[in-house]
């Protein structure tokens, strides 16, 4: 019997009482029960919605064509076949897949499917195929998105359009379509219209939606979004001074250090090549923040960004601390958070400077050795109370662990070895004009601002390399102070 079809009716007829079945030909269980559906159609009031073939099932006279999936979307169909019993327009009960006893009970047809197995699981509804829920939400839902739509002409390449509009940092981005942005927003429970912060330098209000758009462009997965949102919040804190971090001629960029369980959950890298390429979360989270500053905040090189040289980390710089086998408390714990909390810390820093020491086997030697490199931060004769980020590798950490040195002890010893006699670094000393004022010649001068040296454990298991990242020259209350924010997951 040839089936006749009519348009899918997304709304169940008002006051409808009877049965609704949602099926697709591509599902073996749906094909298995096609005679059941034909029998039901002969006995009961039955509406069948077919997702992929309006000629299916063949024994039913009138099949509703749900090729557009509107019915399935609006009624949250997840499995086919789904059987719904309706009474006066209200859904009374729903069955998914074929369970003979349940179908018999619901339909009160006691001989239904006599020759069929008692059970056959259903298949996924086409409306929940990967990427489909977002497309359908875009097509049929009431879009919560407020951003202006930019149409890409048929002859136009969307990747080129992104460059032409100045939305890119110079690398290709993922074009932010509505479906992708909706998918990104599934990564947070926060409303798209919620204000995250006011982004410098233009001091433009930034919503969760705008962060999500830029996170799509950066290449983030939805589960990274909470980290990006926390990073944007941190960058907007007055004490971080993002405007200055951007506007300075210095190298600085917000460097993101992630702590806590979220590192594992989103697959961040804290091991080999931790500061390098290759891990999607590390690479895209920092980039998303930079794109927010560029696109929402209007911060662009040569505009308010006046960096003389800049550094590659200005594309995005984000990594996770290696917490699980660290002998020391993590950066976040040191900064007052619990180990089970996920946090992101923003540090206004320059590029990575390696410190190699493959000979020190005592903590005393290694501390002096690290201190020697740390004394060159900004300039070997600069003793203004700098900020820096010291990244200790596992093999260097081992030296401290074997000797039982706590982080506090290391800090205190390090301070001793980064404090020098003023006369060695004053202007003119070593025949170098730059230096500290002559009046400090008789003083002991400390290299770092109290609280200005951040210490993090990260890197691959082999290699006696650590690294230092210099903080922005304008640090402390008159410049930038590192900021740690809890990540809302």
């Amino acid at each position: 019997m040839a089936a006749t079809t009519r348009q899918a009716n997304a709304i169940i007829p008002e006051g409808y009482s009877g049965f609704i079945a949602v099926v697709k030909r591509d599902c073996a269980t749906c094909r298995l029960i096609e005679n059941v559906l034909a029998d039901m159609a002969g006995e009961l009031d039955l509406q069948v919605y077919s997702q992929d073939d309006p000629g299916f099932p063949p024994g039913v006279d009138e099949v509703n064509d749900d090729g557009e999936l509107e019915f399935s979307y609006r009624h949250d169909i997840e499995i086919v076949p789904t059987l719904m019993r309706m009474n006066a327009g209200q859904e009374i009960e729903r069955l998914a897949g074929w369970q003979r006893d349940d179908w018999r009970r619901l339909t009160a047809l006691s001989a239904l499917g006599e020759d069929l197995p008692v059970f056959s699981p259903g298949c996924g509804s086409k409306s929940v195929d990967p990427g489909m829920p977002e497309k359908l939400a875009f097509k049929f839902g009431d879009s919560p998105l407020q951003a202006r739509r930019i149409e890409v002409a048929s002859q136009q390449d969307e990747h080129e359009l992104v460059f032409e509009r100045g939305w890119s940092d110079g690398l290709p981005v993922v074009p932010p379509t509505e479906a992708r942005v909706l998918r990104m927003l599934a990564g947070t429970t926060r409303s798209p219209s919620e204000l995250v912060g006011v982004i410098p330098p233009d001091n433009a209000p930034c919503t969760v939606e705008k962060v999500a758009i830029n996170a799509v462009m950066a290449g983030c997965k939805p589960e990274y979004l909470p980290v990006v949102l926390a990073a944007v919040e941190a960058a907007c804190r007055d004490e971080f001074c993002m405007h200055g971090v951007l506007a300075t001629t210095y190298f600085s960029a917000p460097i993101l250090i992630v702590n806590g369980p979220i590192r594992d959950r989103i697959g961040m890298n804290w091991s080999h090549n931790v500061l390098g390429q290759g891990n999607r979360a590390n690479a895209t989270i920092g980039r998303a923040l930079q794109l927010v500053i560029r696109n929402v905040g209007g911060g662009r090189p040569g505009g308010v960004d006046r960096a003389t040289l800049g550094q590659p980390g200005k594309i995005g710089f984000c990594f996770a601390e290696r917490e699980q086998d660290s002998y020391w408390e993590s950066l976040a714990v040191e900064r007052g958070f619990a180990a089970h909390e996920s946090t992101v810390t923003l540090f206004a820093g320059g590029g990575v400077h390696p410190i190699g020491d493959q000979a020190s086997r005592s903590p005393e030697s290694l501390t002096r050795s690290l201190a020697l490199s740390l004394r060159t931060v900004h300039h070997a004769k600069a003793y203004n109370g700098a900020d820096a980020l010291l990244i200790i590798s596992p093999e260097h950490m081992r030296v401290f662990r074997d000797a039982g040195w706590s982080k506090a002890r290391f800090r205190s010893e390090l301070e001793k070895h980064t404090t020098v006699a003023g006369h060695t670094v004053i202007r003119g000393a070593d025949d170098i004009a730059v230096g500290m004022p002559e009046g400090l010649a008789d003083k002991r001068l400390r290299k770092f601002r109290p609280g200005g040296l951040l210490i993090v454990h990260a890197g691959g298991g082999a290699g006696m390399w650590s690294a230092v990242i210099t903080g922005w020259a304008a640090n402390g209350p008159k410049g930038s102070v590192p900021v740690t924010v809890a990540i809302q997951t």
């Binding site: 233009d202 209007g298 008159k478």
Partner: protein, 91 residues
Amino acid sequence: MIKLLDPTSEGQAAARDALPRPKSLVDKRVALLDISKPRGDVFLDRVQQHLQSLGVDTRRYEKPTFARVAPVDLKQEIVSECDLVIEALAD
């Protein structure tokens, strides 16, 4: 047709023309703004001397730190007290 969502603030800066240059400094008061960069004071001392020798009224101001934008209070103070500003922008 593909539609993309605008990642920018969608704001547009108000276009403002620069104020006309004053024809003379007679009866004008000039604000001298030090942004707290090293040696900004040296530069402004010289400018102030020069303006004073011309009989021009000056008044000195200072930003708390060069790393941040000027506080609104300071901007309002300058606007309400002076006609022009000379800023020592960099060291």
